[in-house]
Symmetry: C2
DNA sequence: CGAAACCTTGAGAGCTCTCAATGTGAGTGG
DNA sequence: CCACTCACATTGAGAGCTCTCAAGGTTTCG
């Protein structure tokens, strides 16, 4: 909620929904563990980083740009499980394979770590293991909040809640550019793109936000926005 | 998915949805850490164990019975975030306060641990920290699966998926007694009790399950059940 | 400037919810 | 052991929210 994430390129950065404080712990993690040096790698916009079912040999840390992770059903229905920002770690699994797919939201630079190496560091250094635990617990808390949203909130509440969360992550100024498409938003909130679009239009009509030239830029009237979420 | 949980009283036990393998790691956790001795405590059916917003001073381990955790909105809408079975740990938080409420599903016996004590053990023993990390990661994986269910699956798919999961957790025989009410099921799946009821009736009409005398007992025809979930 | 992807808007359908009534089982006291 | 009670579960009818299908507008990019 109050996490501060440095955003080298605010207009391009994405919110990190599944790892709210991941950036913080992520930064500390490797600082305290100099033997863990990641290999730099770059991905183009929309490029797949790993796919569901693949061996979970590596773990990733966002350096620049943004990444999304999602799960899909056989008929194509998609649920985004998280957006990951600079500083965030993603790709950890308990089992042998990835349980979701990761793709670059924008052109992105990451550091790649060998999972075994990190696990080894964790088994030898309680400090590292505690940070990983802390990170996972934070991600879990966020996932539970999102379950409440998906299971019990209306379209208006979901979209308003989403916009406020993106705003917070992008500096909390109330004015920002959404780093993802309507489809990404819809697949994160369990809605359709049409419903997301209509809801944003309605929020604007209610005076809860303003849109400028491009559809990605919004200015939130946060008091009215909060009223739309109510709780 | 293949976790085996010992069920002293199958007809009373509940599925553990948010901590699929928690029981396993939970058992190991304190076995390897004899200085951590929990204080036994008992709760009556429907009794609150802790409430959202309270200080997260303690951590709990189910010994007997079952526990559910949930979040609520101000208007009463509720989302169950997990059912916890014997062996499962619950109540961990990253911050100072509990982010959800825990209640006994049936009469339950638990062991209570001081959170600080466990955290201290974790900072001194990488093994303990790794187990806690592992547990959190497993819970996170389950939460992400549940997000897909809540965001993208139909009522039929949700109920069928839920029933199969309960079956697995209760031994996988295909025949069992649901340990929770329709309301609990509905609040876990993001549906209403009426929709849950209608969906079960429909699954029975489709030959995917049989109900005996009491509404809580079901026998799954797992092949047809799987077809209802399709994926 | 043209093409393609993205976004918005409209109309109607469908799934789930709401409201209401009935049925059922477990527990209690006579 | 039975009647009573209350919580729980089922069923029905209609409403409402979101989806689907379709068309048109807008932005981006080559």
């Amino acid at each position: 909620m109050s996490s501060v994430i440095s955003l080298p390129q605010p207009s391009q950065a994405a919110a990190s929904f599944n790892a709210p404080v991941g950036g913080i712990h992520g930064s500390g993690l490797f600082a305290s563990c100099p033997e863990l040096i990641g290999t730099p790698f770059a991905y183009a916009r929309e490029e797949e980083i790993y796919g569901e079912g693949e061996d979970a040999e590596f773990v990733y840390k966002v350096v620049e740009g943004a990444v999304r992770t999602h799960k899909v059903l056989s008929d194509g229905r998609r649920q985004i499980t998280g957006f990951h920002l600079p500083g965030d770690l993603f790709g950890f699994e308990q089992g042998e394979t990835h349980r979701h797919t990761a793709e670059a939201l924008s052109d992105a630079k990451v550091l790649i770590f060998k999972r075994r190496q990190i696990e080894r560091a964790a088994t030898h250094r309680a400090e590292v293991a505690c940070q990983l635990w802390s990170m996972a617990t934070n991600n879990l808390r966020h996932a539970q909040d999102h379950m409440l949203l998906l299971g019990r909130r209306s379209a208006t509440e979901r979209v308003a809640s989403f916009l406020m969360e993106v705003d917070e992550r992008l500096g909390g100024t109330g004015t920002f550019a959404l780093p993802m498409t309507r489809r990404d938003i819809a697949d994160c909130l369990g809605l359709t793109i049409e419903t997301v679009s209509r809801t944003i239009t309605q929020l604007e009509a209610d005076g809860a936000l303003l849109r400028s030239s491009t559809s990605r830029h919004v200015s939130l009237r946060r008091n009215r926005m909060r009223r739309a979420v109510e709780d």
